[in-house]
């Protein structure tokens, strides 16, 4: 009897505690999802419903016209491919170049470490919108206009500071003994980075990768300026070129549709990769 009661009370306290998590998870979902759901709904609404008073929440008339218009008028799939190519290349490049640098700055006691870090910080502070005039001239000189490189390199550079600083902070948190063990085992610096250090900092790698990828995917001004050829355009630029019935009309429907379509690949990517953001990768590695 008394045991039963005890179990009951313990159960009860547990329930309250257990509620906090789902509730906050739901709140998060609602907070982040609400405006997006609104966009998604908009993308299926007919124009009249988009700007109806009172607001139409759940559209009665569903239309795919906005989506169809995307693909009918423009090679939308090509834009997605362009975006994907540019984003993937710059993300990979960024990680490939930034991670070793981060490692060197975390562990190799470079005499110039402080200077490099300061430089990276300063570079971060330079507003990216204002970079592009100078870049425009570089692109002009190097004749890189309408070349994927004109996007890949700036994207890489813009995301490098984040990659370097984030990865560095994670490298610094790793137990140093592991690298020592690897050195004794005969790993050279590169093998060690690749086979020992990186697997343990995979969450950081994935995180910076996701952030880099997204920022490259969504970049607008460079893409608009440096890629004037139709076949090279990226999603955000192509979306901005959607048009309404008049100069003044903002094409909410197609914009919403393009937003949804252009973000889908990112959603899939994140869904796949967020699994790798896991705890305890260094569990059991060292004692003390």
């Amino acid at each position: 009897m008394s045991i039963a009661r005890e179990q009951l009370t313990t159960k009860k306290t547990f329930e309250i505690r257990q509620l906090i998590l789902p509730i906050s998870a739901i709140l998060i979902v609602v907070y982040f999802l609400a405006p997006i759901v609104w966009q998604v709904l908009t993308s299926f609404k007919v124009n009249a419903d988009i700007s109806a008073i009172p607001n139409v929440y759940i559209p009665k008339r569903i239309t795919f016209e906005h989506y169809l218009s995307l693909f009918q008028r423009r090679p939308f799939a090509l834009y997605i491919l362009n975006s994907a190519f540019v984003s993937i290349s710059s993300t990979l490049l960024c990680l490939a170049v930034g991670t070793p640098a981060a490692y060197a700055l975390a562990r190799l006691r470079l005499w110039s470490e402080k200077i490099i870090l300061a430089a990276i910080t300063i570079v971060t502070l330079f507003p990216a919108v204002l970079l592009f005039l100078g870049l425009l001239e570089i692109v002009k000189v190097l004749n890189l206009g309408n070349n994927y490189l004109a996007l890949i390199i700036p994207y890489t550079a813009i995301n490098l500071p984040l990659t370097i600083l984030v990865m560095r902070s994670f490298f610094q948190q790793l137990p140093k003994d592991l690298e020592d063990a690897a050195k004794v085992d005969g790993y050279n610096t590169f093998q060690m980075l690749w086979q020992i250090v990186l697997p343990m900092t995979f969450p950081a790698l994935v995180t910076t990768g996701i952030l880099t990828f997204i920022s490259a995917w969504n970049e607008f001004i460079f893409a608009l300026t440096f890629m004037t050829r139709e076949s090279l355009k990226t999603i955000p630029v192509a979306t901005a070129q959607l048009s309404g019935a008049s100069v003044f009309e903002i094409p909410y429907g197609p914009i919403a549709a393009a937003t949804v379509l252009g973000t889908l690949p990112l959603v899939l990517l994140v869904l796949v990769f967020q699994r790798r953001i896991v705890q305890g990768l260094t569990a059991g590695a060292v004692k003390g």
Binding site: A48, S51, A52, I53, R73, R74, F132, L133, L136, V139, K140, G145, L224, T225, T228, E230, V237, A240, Q241, L242, S243, G244, A245, S246, V247, F248, E249, I250, P251
Partner: protein, 403 residues
């Protein structure tokens, strides 16, 4: 040359324009097999288009040969030396067939840089059904309109009286130019650089607009509205009067619109005893300075801006012509009965000052108008500041800084 490669001209256009122009471009290409025109789709936001041109020109070799210019860009593009002087390409007789304001808008310091292919002018839309029902004639002055609105609002015939664009953006300048001229004021003189923004007329103009909000004729939201927001509100049947551009006509009369067939237009109003004016917008074509094929480009412009082309184009699209004669063309009037009325509107132009620093001047005005509308400043304060900043700007223009 045995097989002549066709010359390729590139042209940036916004999405909706491309659809409209494609057939005519095709036609041109058929007639001129050695010229091809590449239509590039630009962003839907005109600001972005302007930026795109700017960066393209700054890059040096413009990727575009034919430049589609909004009226307010001309001085800047001309001053920066990005577009060709077309003064000698076209005869005065030919020019005189266009709406004069539209041609004026293509000039900078006496030279012509742009041939207009469409007009745009601010005008007043109103609900003729409600007015008729109440037995009221269309208003001619601001004062009339206020009275009518208040009356009908009180009777519950309409939620709002007057809709105008009060958001801080280029549209507010365009809107204000009209009210300003309706009150007999002016903004700035492009020749003498005189600034009229702190004159009593200008202050009155601002106060009039502020009052429409204060007295409930206009929704408080007008301070955030652009063309579309006001159109939608009007189209949803919520208001009596709307200041907007010609494009509204077609949409408001389209199927599904709540005001289909219930509207009419008037030229912009004025205060009692003054003559009002419409802000003239409109697009036209120029040729990039760096274009390698100026002759072919001119040929294309000639073709596309010919009266015949425009006639067909207008019939097709319902846009507003730049030729005077087309407003009264039978065929066109048959399809768009309100065009003769439109002609009155566009012939009563209130121009935004064609100065190179127009963008900057307009920004100054926008900010202070917005300050006044949102109650941050009184009309007088706002206009004084705007005037003084504008004077500074134009002053610096008179004597370019030198080392």
């Amino acid at each position: 040359a045995l097989t002549q490669q066709p010359v390729v001209l590139t042209m940036l256009m916004q999405g909706q324009d491309i659809a409209n122009w494609k057939p005519f471009v095709k036609e041109f290409e058929q007639k001129n097999p050695n010229i091809r025109i590449d239509l590039i789709e630009g962003p839907f936001d005109t600001n972005l288009v302007e930026n795109l041109y700017t960066s393209a020109f700054l890059l040096g070799e413009s990727p575009y040969d034919i430049i589609n210019m909004d009226i307010v860009w001309v001085p800047k593009f001309a001053a920066a030396g990005w577009v060709r002087d077309l003064t000698d390409n076209i005869s005065p007789e030919q020019l005189s067939k266009f709406i004069p304001g539209n041609v004026e808008g293509g000039r900078y310091r006496g030279k012509l840089y742009r041939i207009p292919h469409a007009s745009d002018a601010g005008m007043l839309y109103y609900r003729k059904d409600i007015l008729k029902q109440a037995g009221i004639a269309a208003p001619k002055t601001f004062e009339d309109m206020v009275k009518i609105s208040q009356n009908l609002q009180k009777q519950g015939k309409a939620t709002w009286g007057y809709l105008w664009q009060g958001k801080q953006y280029e549209g507010v300048s365009a809107m204000f130019v009209e009210v300003l001229s309706g009150f007999g004021g002016f903004w700035a003189n492009p020749q003498t650089f005189e600034v009229g923004l702190d004159k009593p007329e200008a202050i009155k103009a601002v106060e009039f607009l502020k009052n429409t909000i204060a007295s409930g004729i206009s929704p408080p939201g007008v301070t955030t509205y652009g063309e579309e927001e006001t159109r939608l509100l009007f189209q949803n049947g919520k208001a009596l009067f709307l200041r907007n551009w010609p494009y509204v006509w077609k949409l408001a009369n389209a199927e599904g619109s709540k005001v289909r067939g219930k509207i009419a237009i008037e030229p912009m109003l004025s205060s009692i005893g003054k003559t009002g004016g419409s802000c003239l917008g409109g697009w036209g074509w120029g040729i990039a300075k760096t274009s390698k094929h100026p002759e072919q480009a001119w040929k294309a412009i000639q073709y596309l801006t010919s009266e015949e082309t425009q006639r067909k184009f207008i019939l097709e699209t319902g846009l507003v012509p730049s030729y005077k004669s087309l407003f009264t063309n039978k065929e066109i009037v048959a399809k768009y009965p309100h065009y003769p009325q439109l002609l009155k509107v566009v012939e009563q132009p209130a121009l935004r000052p064609p100065i190179a620093q127009y963008a900057q001047a307009s920004d100054i005005l926008q900010r202070y108008l917005s300050s006044a509308f949102t109650g941050r400043m009184s009309a007088e304060q706002a206009m004084k500041s705007a005037a003084s900043e504008t004077r500074n700007l134009l002053g610096s223009l008179k004597q370019p800084k030198a080392s």
